[in-house]
């Protein structure tokens, strides 16, 4: 957690989109920015890139207020996926409250997925986070590709880890909000046990997730 101030009635949470290079982390944030109502989210900030590749990070903030008046700010970050930017990944990962691991469904990327997950485990350990208790979801992106890995294959490989696995096609906006919602739910559970969001602040899990993931009206630009 980045910040919690009882006096200011303010809490800042950090979610990190992790994964191998070009798996679609930034696209996830772009789609969230696109799909979710302006009410409750800030602007997407993209730090300098080289040829559309993230070299620092992207940031999308969300806001919600509990019935108690507690203001909660959720900052969603992406890390650079390229192997060479490991120090940046480690810096962004610091004090994360939850991680969405964006994997690539292309059969040729299986190795990169595992390598990146290993890297995540190592960096979590090095930044003092426990992978066993940290809220974590896995999204297999690029399901729209014709030759992508079969879903059963993915589930049989990753199912045993006990980590929720979601299918998505971020470019088409499919599965993006679901992934965010799944992670938000897990983060709520963890924060709730420490800060009693339900009892002390009147904020239920459903309400927390709903406020973060309210999509546009069907007809409207909503802005």
């Amino acid at each position: 957690m980045i910040e919690y101030s009882e006096k200011e009635r303010r809490m800042v949470l950090k979610l990190v989109y992790y994964g191998p290079a070009l798996s679609g982390k930034t696209t996830n944030l772009l789609q969230l920015h696109e799909q979710l109502t302006r009410q409750g989210r800030g602007e997407l900030m993209v730090l300098d890139t080289t040829g559309d590749r993230t070299i620092y990070f992207d940031l999308l903030p969300f806001f919600l207020t509990a019935p108690s008046g507690l203001k909660i700010k959720v900052k969603a970050y992406t890390v650079p996926g390229q192997v060479c930017h490991d120090a940046t990944r480690k810096a962004v990962l610091q004090r994360a409250d939850g991680v969405a691991f964006i994997a690539d469904s292309k059969p040729g990327e299986t190795e990169s997925n595992f390598a990146s997950f290993d890297n995540l485990e190592r960096n979590l350990a090095q930044t003092g986070l426990d992978i066993d208790t940290l809220p974590l979801v896995i999204q297999f992106n690029k399901r729209d590709l014709p030759d992508c890995l079969a879903e059963e294959e993915i589930r049989s490989a990753w199912g045993p880890t006990g980590i929720p696995v979601l299918m998505a096609s971020a470019l088409r906006g499919v599965g993006v909000t679901e992934t965010f919602a799944a992670l938000a739910g897990l983060v709520y559970d963890r924060v709730d046990t420490r800060f009693d969001l339900a009892g002390g602040h009147g904020l239920s899990r459903e309400e927390f997730v709903r406020q973060l993931t309210t999509v546009h009206d069907d007809n409207g630009e909503g802005e």
Binding site: E3, E43, A87, T88, V92, G128
Partner: protein
Amino acid sequence: MTATGDGLTYLVGAERNLRELLLDSDVLPLLQGVLAAGAAGARLVDEYGAELWSVRDPGGGGEQLSDLPLLLEGEQVARIQVSGEREGLEACAELLRVALDTVLRNSLKRVLTTEIHTTVVNSSYQELLKTNGELALSEARYRELAGNLELRVKERTAELRRAQTHILQQEKMAAIGQLAAGVAHEINNPLGFITSNLHTLQKYVGRFTAMLQFYRDHLSLDLPVETVSAEGDRKWRELKLPIALADVGDLLSQSLSGAERVSRIVADLKGFSHVDDAGEMPVDLNAELERTLSVLSHQLRDNAEVNRELQALPTITCQPQLAGQIFLNIIQNVLCHGGAHPKITLSSCCDGERIRISIADNGPGIPAAIRSQIFEPFFTTRPVGSGTGMGLAVVYEAVLRMGGTIAVADAPGGGADFIITIPTGKD
């Protein structure tokens, strides 16, 4: 900002306040610009209404025309308030908002970029320092290991060389001991019958003395010659002198030939071992071969058949005992491995530059597979404990010291053929 174990001092996502991101020099010129456009006052207040930046025209008045929010990361952090009387100031205020928003947005990006860049560079540098330190340590370790290794190998090599030299020396001593036992047997034999002959002769000399004493006593009594003669004959027979006289010649000649045999053996042995010759001298290898055969004569006599096909050889200059070591060990090897009654063929020849000596037998031969190993120290086909494996190694060393080569081939009728080639030194 936060400090952690791995040297990161900056937390990505830390909340910032407006004062960290906007400088007076960013804000005030913009506010002045609004004033220049005709506003009476322009200011920024925080979310609790406290004034952050403000400019005011002393002569100006009028009411507040605009009150616009300023956002940071989507959150309202301040309000932009413009007051005045002129028309169109609302548009000016909106322009001010857009300008401040752009400055703030860019400032935030710049700060975040700079901070993460610095952090990454620092942590990369720390990691490089750490890696460098580890590499230096590991290099030092390997250097030490390499230095030690060289030393250890040198020590072990010297140790092995000492042990091998020691064993070679022991093998030479063992060969000499074996030889001594054979020679002792050879000497013991004649010595035995010489001693026995001397005992017999001692007995005979006693009888001769008794006979002479008898005549001397009777002559002094002045007895008639016939009486003395008859008495003398009787005494002669009593002392069995006819047999003794017949025996004495044989005994003496036998003993003399025995003594000669002993002195010949001693001479051979001396010649073979060259105990009197310290350095190099002219050597006839045929003579050395003969000498070796004669010191081994007791072993060869009933056990082996020796054929000589020796041609006259030029003398070579070497330590003569080396030749003895070569021949002795090879012939002993034949006696050991060449079957019950080996036939040994010794041949020698010379082409002017090289002397070639071959020692062939009709035994089982040496399998090709082990030919490259038989000259190695400690190689033996005999059961553990019965052979030292050094005999042929001694041979190899001696041949090497004479500047020659040795090889083993199949003998014409089967069996092994040791071929020694020694340069004459006249090329």
